[in-house]
Symmetry: D2
Subunit: 307 residues, 4 copies
């Protein structure tokens, strides 16, 4: 399975009852697929998966699989601290329709690169193929490019989701795995055109929830070799990405501010019913919500706008 | 429930079959209680809990509860990234005999202090009382002293396990909660006498697996006001604590090196069958194991030694 | 030379003309010595030395030496990134009357412990004895306890100023250098009594500018073995230390907030003319200044108060 | 003054007498200019300037200015912790022939962005124009893109040397300063082609000491719009950059390993007499030197090689 295109890490709507809002999630997933994404990534950081219990996580997978209806693959994130926990969380994924799991390095336990390699070797024994997820801002452990390359060579993973912000490292991986069955996906919202230019196979932008059509246009332009069009679309999306910075960080955390902005934008567009966050994340206040809506409105107005 | 005394974070022995070695764990727990500890903490960092699946974690709890046989309370660590996950993991704990759960701040998601407070407020709604666990070396988020104090005042937690290394912060908590039903436990192996002197109620040392009698003597001396004896015992234990540094960190991670040393010491003493680590942690090599055994032998020889 | 007692890192008053306010500095130094300090440390972090040019740094030394008038030694901080720079900055210090220099590890250049040892070996070839200064919050490089111990054993330094916050590390140094001509000084404002209890020879608290008599009382009580009195004085000083947290950190940096509070307290007490900071540090605003003055007034009122 | 092209941060050769090896430095500077660089940057991190005293730093400037002989401008790095220190170190630079100074944010003192802006505002009052230098790996303080943009808008700096590794941030600066007299230079060795593609005006690669002709070819290709040729040259240089990783980091620090590799490569090529490092940095051992020479030999062999 070669992953490519735009694969948004899907937000997880929360209902007024504090449970998964299945209707909203279904609406969002349908919208994303309709707008041309190549896959859905359920259970990622943007999906607040670290804050969801097991049944909610699987329920979100079910909704996404049903909405995708075979049109695109659904990846399933298993954000767990260690090997046995990842294997346990991944176990039902195949039966629930996931095409692959996405797993980080072990965290909390400060692993050595050799231990990280052993971790993915063990995960490779599971039912589903594995995408390795490098997100040191969350795990505080880097999945070093050299280890990613080893994962590709050993066949322990089918791809890398690179949310490290280290484009030089991503480039070294891309160059090393060129002839291997290994996809490199960038998690960058603001350097997606460059990452594709450097050889990334696809993009997994949290902001892709808010503007999937924009990222699909960007991807298509990049693939067509139209770098000017890709950069122009990127510039528009980068401006829209300013929504993640509107929250007052003396009041709520960065995660709450960024993901809250995505959800507010989705609620404003009508794709989900409520921007409610999963506990214990705080909510944007009214001034911040207004700022998000204005940035979304501006992005829509210029050149085609949001899908 | 006021927690006090020595409450070791129990190691989790792994059998040759890759599963929990119940017999070894039972033997270890009996030994710890026989040597005078005041509680058992199952599911802590020293127990490699971040690397265990749910059934193994509960099985370890069962063994400890059975071994404790009501003589001492058993605390149950629920190391999970977010609120709903902690609540889910904690749910069966009461029925399995835990006296309280021990939970960290949310991690992976970079929470704001207000979100950390909301997290523990939600946990307080669970069946069991909660001990808040500050271990920023693992979570990369500090449970600030001001938040711990708020937990005590609001009644969201019955205690703090402080593995921050920040004795000044611990002191500020101790002073602020003096009249509240809130226990402060230090996780420090090398400053336990000082922490007790500053007003800590108890100690939760990983090295307490290896030398419970030593920590019990230290605790008793400190409580009796014999600071010279407490310091002398501390000095002996601090030297023994050198076992956590014998491993070559260019080969295995710090966690593997430290916890591997505890397990090697336990195997050497005969309390557990094997020093096997839970995947993906690496093992000490023979030279390192020998160095651990020598430090253990030295510590035993001098002044009463290991229990 | 064995260093002991209270050795405040002296603030550096700035005049309305933007130059060193010699009169204020002289007044402050006289006051500190009159109140019983055992030495003056000019050129430390609290003296904003990283923000002063060479002639201002030496002028401050001159003023302190003249004010000390041989009653107490004057230490001279040489905060420089590398070996040759430290040697260059230290060269005039002896002729200007300094008794020793205080030097950090190399910073900016990410040194290895072996390189840190070589650094201090080279400094030992200078005219004045060297106190090693461990302040990782500023240098972002730790002077590891093992290296401090090597400095003592090799005779490369006569002491350690420990501003690491790591009391366990300080304890290991104290224990290892017991029979060597090596002084251990803590930079902690809030754990000074404990550090002395653990065997530190002296204390170098920035807050000692504001309340020298309090720290002298604390030191005397600790030396007399009156731990209760020392702890009570410490508690009063810890409360006063709250002045470093009044500034709004979304507006000025932590250094500006903390050192600005010291200067505001000194100006309020009349020891210096102005709380002016050295560029580019920002100033407290009026509300923050008022909060500082209130905490100072409270500390004075209770039990003898500020000297 | 618009800065552009390749401006290597020149290494500082050390003689057998422990002083600046003027002849080697002159030879190196002549070689660099002969190979087509657009400027020389003396006093940068690659020049070990944090480890040089003032007279050595100025002597290096003198040698470079004489070697440049007006053919290219010479930039002068003033790596100092605070505003007054930068102004003091910069004062003689104009008379010694520097065209501009290069200054970092204040470090050691944890400045707020507003304080960083004030720092550069003060520096703008000096005789020479200022290039702001963002190198958080050394200063541990980020020069945020928003602050760089403010520097450009306020006219406090004529350019940015970006060694942050954050290409997304650099892109935001480039886009914001497009119509301002402000040059953006990347310090990246391995993403130079991409940085130029994104709109950077020039490159300041430490590896440019070792292979100036390669970077000049890369720059020319990028400017001519030949992205394939630029990428091919980049790939060759990235492979050569592997020399910074040959050193054993359990023995010497990263700075010593990387800059020692540059110097070994220069000595091997005959441009400088000795790879001697400035104290207290450690030296490569013979095995490591051999590994450096082999990588240099490989890079020379393929496609034109080192200039």
């Amino acid at each position: 399975m070669k992953l490519s295109g735009v694969i948004p890490p899907v937000c997880t709507p929360r209902g007024a009852d504090g449970a998964l809002d299945r209707a909203s999630l279904s609406r969002l997933c349908h919208h994303l697929v309709d707008d041309g994404v190549s896959g859905l990534f359920v259970g990622g950081s943007s999906g607040e998966t670290a804050l969801l219990d097991a049944s909610t996580r699987l329920a979100a997978l079910d909704v996404a699989v049903e909405a995708a209806a075979g049109r695109v693959p659904v990846l399933y994130g298993v954000i767990e601290t260690g090997t046995a926990r990842v294997l346990e969380a991944a176990r039902p994924a195949a039966a629930h329709g996931a095409a692959a799991i996405v797993a980080t390095v072990p965290f909390y336990v400060a692993p050595h690169p050799a231990e990280i390699l052993a971790h993915f070797e063990a995960l490779a024994g599971g039912e589903l193929p594995v995408v390795a997820y490098d997100i040191p801002s969350a795990t505080h452990v880097r999945l070093e490019p050299a280890v990613s390359i080893a994962l590709a060579r050993e066949g322990y993973a089918i791809g890398l989701k690179d949310s490290s912000g280290d484009l030089a490292g991503m480039r070294s991986v891309v160059n090393a795995v060129r002839d291997l069955p290994f996809s490199v996906l960038t998690g960058s919202e603001t350097m997606a055109d460059i990452a594709l230019d450097l050889g990334a196979d696809g993009i997994v932008p949290g902001l892709g929830n808010v503007d999937p059509a924009g990222y699909v246009r960007l991807y298509s332009a990049a693939r067509a070799g139209d770098r000017v069009a890709a950069a122009a679309e990127q510039a528009r999306l980068t401006k829209l990405f300013g929504i993640v910075d509107v929250a007052d960080r003396t009041r709520i955390g960065f995660t709450a501010g960024a993901l809250g902005a995505f959800k507010e934008a989705l609620a404003y567009q009508g794709w989900i019913d409520s921007p409610s966050m999963w506990p214990p994340l705080g909510a944007l206040d009214d001034v911040e919500k207004k700022a998000v809506r204005e940035l979304v409105a501006q992005a829509s107005g210029r050149g085609g706008g949001l899908g």
